[in-house]
Symmetry: D2
Subunit: 496 residues, 4 copies
């Protein structure tokens, strides 16, 4: 039955409901996680194997790994060795996970856990999945995005016995088929869900309500998925405790401030080769993302000014040495406009009309509506694709505006996310699974939780050896004086 | 009666209770406000008038201002013109208060308010007091610290008719006498309290309970005073709404991150003339204060490493480019040790023993116990006072450790606080008074409140013109998209 | 005859002499110009047209441009339109050249000049060549590197009538054939030489001594070419004045300090996706290149230390906040080793043996011998090519060292050079040509000259409008006080 | 005769010639050394002993040191112990000199040298003088400035036997008397001159030509003194080799770039307590001094723009992230104007008229004419001295401009120079004396010389231990490859 399964959608409407769901969700928060690429295009800089000339759908093929199992569906299991190399490279920057693996391996804290997962399938995810397995879990996995799977990594996972159902370039039908294959299997019933975007959770909730009820916990990484969970919870339909790992401190700081500080430079260089020194730049928004962008550009010699709606952030920008302006005041002179607001229509057609020739426009914020790209798709303007992810939009007088990634997230489209950053997310996910799976009855109810501060601190502490950083320990006397436990937590929950 | 008043303490014990009170209070929080100088020595860089040779106590003298009033007690009312100049200079950097004065002057939002205040009496405070008067309030004022009064400023206030009772070098008896003179007066009963340290509040609470019950609100600035209020509240004895302005975002960021970024350099230069370039420095603690110190020292070419107990802050230090070490690992090599922890015995005698000749040790943290200075007061060590606030502690082998301000707060003892920073605090205090005085019944109960986010944002917005910063306004469409009111608040209350 | 020309080498020895020549030249100076890619591999990020499947040698094909001329030899003249677009994009960042074009167009200062050139043939060079033409020159051009030609750009030049002989992937025989076709033509005799690397100059000197004698000037950009010229001059064989544009101040600062500040980040990201924050890095050499690398890495949160042989540079590193160490002291702990010395064997096999797993090693210095890469090609080590320009060298115990570009220049191999930097070089070249062509008899003798300071300043001034920078003019009184001419030069010749 | 000596000026004219001399000299170079304070006021932050109430002129008193000598003239030899402490403190940051003392002490390279010196007499100079003595020299010393002598230090020197003639507050007559007492003494004839400003040199040249002819060398530190020497040399009257230590690389970089980076902040804070964060600043001139100021202010959150006359420096400013403007474009908006040009009337009365209320104006450049202060001394403007070195200049409409140090050098007037910087100068002076004293005949002729590069490098190397910096040594193979001597010099003489 497994092999011949045909996905039966309840109705066309339901299918559309699923697929449209992400666009309905709240966009307010500016936390940008890799998972948001669900709705953005995804450019994996690390894909060395082409989709090749083999056009057969993986669903049509029968493949067997070296152990005789065929409980998986990937592009080509023979690429396993190549994928293994990729995983090993990723492991070098994810030593926190490896160290978690080692520390908890004896206890097998996930023994008995049956984890069904739905995430990007990349070398970094593979390190996470193999950590879960090492801690005792059984895993079945699908991709949360139809483009982002590294086929060779999926092959390597399949080869080692993980039931993975994913390939690069799935159709929408394939997408749901893969998810279903993870859940709907004989002799195996998921008791933990690890999700990125909420599609898996929704599928189980809708299609397998009896499974859903018996799940011990859900770990969700994305803004979108977290939003869905809060909606379920509000509606009284969340019968399972869920952990929101998106809003953990370490993830937020790394995904936003520190990661953007590097990816703004990387994204701009890879697409335009622009020289930063002396360039006049306006950054719209001075939240964590904006702060990261401003810091990096200023450090490399750009002259940066900032727009803000919030007087507190505006005052911070002043104190950090950035002139706070309205976009209209500077739009004629600047060499680059970078949006980091989480809002929409921050850069309007009118403002695009007033930019000077050669101005670069890109988005580091949340959705692809920060720049009003739609307004540029009019007959009088000519679009010229000069490179991958780079369009020249040409005005009748010959003026060119250089638009990157069609206004989608620059750092997801045009740069890469370091394994180290993904390690923080993956470690948090692993700890959240362990916590929910082992928590005594009553600790968590049917609600959405933030990771306890202490576990946030634990994630951080696992990453310190990467930097050869040595933590100081409180003496008993000091701990007493401060009213703290020597092992933390050290800060209140609201600390950022 | 006014002139001949003799303070009657209920008993010697009660008096001691008052004076010891500050030392009992909680020390945990690392927020350092100017008000903490209550327990530290205070160095006013801006005092141009000596205590002079006139040794008569102000309480003995009869002075009359040019309007014929003698309802005040200052050193010498004839210094008023000199003080006026100081106030005018301060006004230049406190334009937010002046602007508040102008905006609200027509409405007189404090008409009818009778404000009794107890703060440092400096040019900056004078700008605050005169703003309150301009908004309709009547004010009576005492000093919260026996050393910090600028006599000429007190004279200028007295000259314009403020009932001010303060001079530099009060005795403890003088201190309580002045406070009492503010409260205990015919035909005038305070209905608002503005306090810094909690001494005034406590005096009214203990001595004039009937006055206390009719007060409409208390505004408290200091950590210590806020702590006392929370204790009163916990004990069910706080019958008045109180506003904790110490923990407002703008104040915190300015007092800690931005202000320390500058004062660490200033304090070190004024005391030691040390060259920063190439110096090896260890900063203990990477909270806001530590972040400010590290940023500044690194920017000027010092090689900075950090100690931390909290893995999250440690990880931030790593990402910001500071090596995280244990103090013991580096104490032999470093040229400076700076404490910013809020903890005690962060630098121990054993570590002081291991420092190299010429090492500079100072404290930017909370209390004067971060460095174990007491352990240095032993017979085998020689102390040599080489400048004001600078001691050489000399080991038997000739090694010298350079200790600044005897371990008290460097930035309060050895540098100055810019008027701009004080403007933020003063504006917050003024707004808190207006809010409490005008709030409809029921908005505030008998509890301690944080300033509403929106007012925090208002304080920030009043300071933006200083930087010629132009705020962007949300369009209706954008506000709706973000789910925000166009006028704010723009961030959740917990935002930092 | 043109079409059917067959290159006759005097002898096989002579041919070899030419081709080996570059490797004989001095390597001491650390100035790195794009022209050094002659001996390095060249990665053009901007090549959009493949060598395609057309395997016919351009020499075999007969092509005619739209004006009926066939005096050129390129891959495919039909790509001209595509190349034109590339040139237009480059023009946007090379406005100094365009502005020079406009200023001098009336006077046609190169009227009558017959310039034979040999440089990389890229969009940026095309802007230079078309500027020379606009100023009155006739040009014939060959490529100075067999890999670096952008075919579509060559096509665009051919289409507009420039006699260009170049394509990507020339054989060595092709290389010299192309050069010869530029010089050896009827009815046209070169009177100016613009060279990058010295191959063209040498060819004319050896093959066409009568042409050589009548040349009015040589402009040479590369270290190598300049070295050859000084040798000729020393040997008394240089019968033509030559301009060394490699050592002009603007070029040096841009090629080294400012350009490396950006390209070190770009090169590392494109090859390894490494996160900079918190990484421990050692930079060998603190000259201009090292200063640029250190500044950028520190700004992005890396912890950087430096090795130096020169105490003055070492002291500068100290004052700039970098610990000065010996490589052996830190080689076990660091995450990256970057060489910028101009010396050889700066990183030895012994040191490579001691590096930790995952250490990245790369070269920003002069030649590919700074890292002793040869020592890594031994049987016990496994090389694994993981990406283009990225090798993992694997020790028997599994340790991997990540070697970039096989030790060749990272910024030439793995990042791009901004048009703006190339604009500075190209403008300098154009001015040098104008100066030599128009100089009155006697101003220049048969020697190698540096660009006069004043022209260096003129090049800089032409680039200021890119930054909307406004220069202040001296008043007569001020000029007199300073003893300066109001129009410069403003600094002594030795100023850096 | 010694005691009763009365200085006989040849004529009043000659005296005036001496005293006016400094104002005649060239002002072009922007090197600012401590020695320029000759013409500026000098504020010694380290003077702990008052001129006291003893109003007797030192010339009237007979003092004897503990060894029975009275060959000196200081304020009060009894302050020797206090001065000794000051010297010991200075020694801690001048370990290069101490190390030179140790290295060369056995050889006594100055045995037989009779050094007459004329410099500021401070603790740092004392370390130099005592080093010379330790190396074998006999010294006689006068002050080069009538205000800058630290009396207690002079006392300490007198106590140990140095023939020092100097006190704080000399009259002009005293000044020349002291110099004469150093030169004109029985049984002792100077054979080396160490001068700062050229007054001593000139005195010997004019008054004691026979002594002058037998001098083996002159070491001169100041711009002014060096200028005088070049004039003498030009006029063919310099019959002695002289060493210009003002233009050595290490001195220049430290006095300008690194030292100003710190002193601009220090000077502004001590005088105005201004907050740097968010302040708009214009720095006039982007040479080494301007670069130092800009770097520091930007790092602390100021928004800095630059004016320049030289396009090369302007382009550097652009690349470093500073907008290049004309002063007139920004003078209305900025919060501070800082001059660093070496030119005059850089800030004119017209521009001062247009500044906004509260604008701070100060000079870090060469002379006190960069700001046209003279133009402010007009009846319609009121000057108000608000602190030492701080004037408010008040316009009729009440606008105040805050002028620091009356336009004289801010860093000399209002901040201190770290001992470390003075150590570099002093070490250079000592080496220059050794070199000239021991040079074989013929190495130096009757001309002005720069310190050989190698000795510059030696000075730098002596200061590296302060930073625990470890220099790398070239291998033989590497030295050969680079064409260098393993011990240096490593850079050409023109290297900066």
């Amino acid at each position: 039955r497994k092999q011949g399964y045909q996905l039966q959608f309840a109705s066309q409407e339901e299918k559309q409901e699923f697929s449209k769901f992400p666009t309905k969700t709240g966009r307010r928060s500016l936390s940008r996680s890799i998972s948001q690429s669900s709705t953005d295009s995804y450019s994996s800089a690390a894909s060395y194997t082409d989709s090749s000339d083999d056009e057969t759908s993986p669903r049509e093929k029968t493949q067997v790994n070296s152990k005789g199992s065929s409980d998986f569906c990937v592009k080509n299991v023979k690429q396993a060795e190549f994928g293994r190399r990729e995983i090993e490279i990723a492991e070098q920057d994810m030593s926190a996970l490896i160290s978690l693996r080692k520390r908890a391996q004896g206890e097998k804290p996930l023994a008995g856990a049956k984890v069904v997962g739905c995430t990007h399938i990349t070398a970094q995810t593979a390190v996470l999945i193999e950590t879960l397995v090492a801690l005792g879990a059984q895993c079945r996995w699908a991709a949360c995005n139809i483009y982002s799977t590294q086929n060779e990594v999926a092959a390597a996972l399949a080869e080692t016995g993980v039931a993975v159902f994913a390939w690069k370039g799935e159709s929408e039908d394939d997408f749901w088929w893969c998810i279903d294959r993870c859940v709907n299997t004989e002799c195996w019933q998921a008791n933990m869900i690890l999700d990125d975007g909420g599609d898996l959770t929704h599928w189980v909730y809708k299609k397998y309500p009896s499974v859903f009820k018996k799940v011990r916990g859900i770990v969700e990484e994305s803004v979108t998925g977290v939003h869905r969970l809060y909606q379920l919870s509000k509606a009284g339909k969340l019968c399972v405790p869920a952990m929101n790992v998106n809003d953990s401190v370490t993830k937020q700081k790394f995904d936003n401030l520190y990661c953007c500080r590097e990816s703004i430079l990387d994204g701009l260089k890879r697409t335009t080769d622009v020289m930063f020194g002396g360039k006049q730049v306006v950054v719209c928004g001075y939240g964590e993302v904006g702060k990261g962008c401003c810091t990096a550009l200023k450090a490399l010699g750009a002259i940066v000014c900032v727009t803000e709606i919030d007087p507190i952030c505006a005052l911070q920008a002043c104190m950090d040495g950035f002139k706070v302006v309205k976009l209209n005041e500077v739009v004629r002179q600047v060499d680059m406009v970078i949006t980091c607001t989480g809002n929409k229509n921050v850069v309007t057609r009118e403002q695009l009309d007033r930019m000077k020739n050669g101005c670069i426009v890109c988005n580091m914020g949340h959705s692809n509506t920060e720049i009003d790209v739609a307004s540029l798709r009019t007959p009088e303007l000519t679009w010229e694709r000069v490179r991958s992810q780079v369009d020249h939009v040409i005005w009748p007088d010959g003026k060119r505006v250089i638009l990157l990634a069609e206004g989608r997230l620059l750092n997801l489209s045009c740069s890469t996310v370091p394994s180290f950053v993904l390690s923080i997310t993956a470690t948090t996910q692993a700890l959240a699974l362990i916590e929910l799976y082992n928590a005594p009855d009553g600790r968590y109810r049917q609600d959405v939780y933030l990771l306890p501060k202490k576990m946030d601190e634990y994630v951080a502490s696992l990453h310190l050896p990467n930097f050869d950083a040595h933590l100081t320990e409180l003496s008993d006397e000091q701990a007493k004086y401060m009213g703290l436990n020597k092992n933390g937590p050290f800060k209140p929950n609201y600390y950022r």
